[in-house]
């Protein structure tokens, strides 16, 4: 009995040390808290769209910062990644306007260990961020063409695994997060394949993932108490895909035209 009490004490100390913990911020649709005035978000979202349009991007990888940077694990600068596609948008009152739609993998509200493929728009994408900043990767023209083909094909949905883990291993098939799905779509486009075995083989050969720099005790507690935090799909030290590592991957193999960071006007 005394041992149990001491163990309880120790676990409480660890829990106290580890809180507040916002390390494990996942990918959610625009239903959470708002941190900026709507006008500020709307203006910023339109700025991002106009920059993409000025650069003639048909497709771009787009990332947002859902949590303050000082609360993110080392090496991780963005918390959610999607694919922005230049589109003909039909408004609710039937008009057709040109703009960007964003293709996302989002956690399901109320079931955070399950994800769905959801399309939204830049205003929605940035609506709940705590840091107003966009990461953009503009793929090379050839990769943009191939990405458009994949996104319009059944492959885009076929590559989706709804079993969600915020720290999903990009080299396995058990669990998936937004960056892994984006990476899989990119790899499918590069190799013009829908074969997930081919996709994973090429990712293992050429993609350098981000080591997960999180205190192992925090990770253990996270996996015990938070359903979408697990390391079960990591045979070795945990690694994951990120906006930065995807950018590095595309840059290394001459598949990125430009990588930029967009911030609000001063």
């Amino acid at each position: 009995m005394k041992h149990i009490k001491i163990l309880t004490l120790l676990m409480a100390v660890f829990s106290f040390i580890l809180t507040p913990s916002s390390v494990f911020s996942g990918s959610s649709q625009a239903g959470g808290k708002i941190y900026y005035e709507p006008e500020v978000i709307i203006k910023f979202a339109k700025k991002v769209e106009k920059i993409l349009a000025k650069k003639g991007a048909r497709v771009a990888i787009i990332a947002r910062v859902g949590r303050p940077r000082n609360k993110l694990p080392g090496g991780i600068k963005f918390t959610h990644v999607g694919i922005a596609v230049y589109s003909q948008i039909t408004t609710a009152d039937g008009r057709k306007v040109p703009g960007y739609a964003i293709h996302n993998l989002y956690q399901r509200t109320g079931e955070p260990d399950v994800s769905d493929l959801i399309q939204d728009f830049p205003v929605d994408f940035f609506s709940g961020v705590e840091v107003l900043e966009a990461g953009i990767i503009i793929p090379s023209p050839e990769l943009q063409k191939r990405l458009l083909t994949v996104i319009a094909s059944p492959t885009y949905k076929d590559l989706h695994n709804s079993d969600y883990s915020v720290l999903a291993n990009p080299f396995t098939l058990d669990l998936q997060n937004c960056t892994e799905h984006t990476l899989d779509v990119i790899t499918a486009a590069i190799y013009q394949t829908s074969d997930v075995k081919v996709i994973k083989a090429n990712e293992k050969a050429y993609f350098e993932p981000q080591p997960v720099n999180v205190n192992p005790v925090k990770l253990l507690l996270g996996s015990m108490f938070v359903s979408y935090v697990t390391t079960s799909d990591h045979p070795d030290s945990p690694v994951t895909s990120t906006f930065t590592t995807i950018g590095n991957f595309l840059t290394q193999f001459n598949a990125a035209s430009e990588i930029l960071i967009i911030k609000p006007d001063a």
């Binding site: 580890l18 649709q29 230049y86 703009g99 509200t109």
Partner: protein, 123 residues
């Protein structure tokens, strides 16, 4: 022993609270909390606040323009400027609407909002 019992009770309480905040700090958990509340300004969700600003246009659908171009060529329904954009070389500057388009709030929040009158001004 009495001191250890007291410490254990306090420790358990701290642990329960810690775990709760651990999960509650995530985006997804916040979305669950916010989504379960009635739509009030004090706890307005991001989507609700954006929609309530009156500065956005709801979207019904979106089709990638490069793909839509081939459909438009057949149906003839695509505006010429959009067709030109869709067929221009990648890297050519594109036209963008000045309107801010939104997908709107998740269904559970949309169900708590009162219906607005349609904007017939048209832009």
């Amino acid at each position: 022993m009495k001191k250890l019992n007291m410490l254990t009770i306090v420790a358990s309480f701290v642990m329960i609270l810690s775990v709760h905040s651990f999960a509650a700090d995530t985006h997804s958990a916040q979305a669950v909390k916010e989504g379960s509340k009635a739509s009030s300004h004090a706890s307005a969700s991001a989507a609700h606040s954006i929609a309530a600003s009156g500065q956005v246009t709801s979207a019904a659908s979106a089709v990638p323009l490069a793909i839509g171009a081939s459909i438009g060529a057949v149906s003839g329904k695509m505006a010429k400027n959009l067709m030109d954009a869709a067929t221009a070389p990648i890297g050519t500057p594109l036209e963008i609407t000045d309107e801010s388009v939104t997908a709107g709030p998740p269904p559970d929040q949309a169900l708590t909002q009162k219906k607005k009158r349609a904007n017939t001004n048209g832009r």
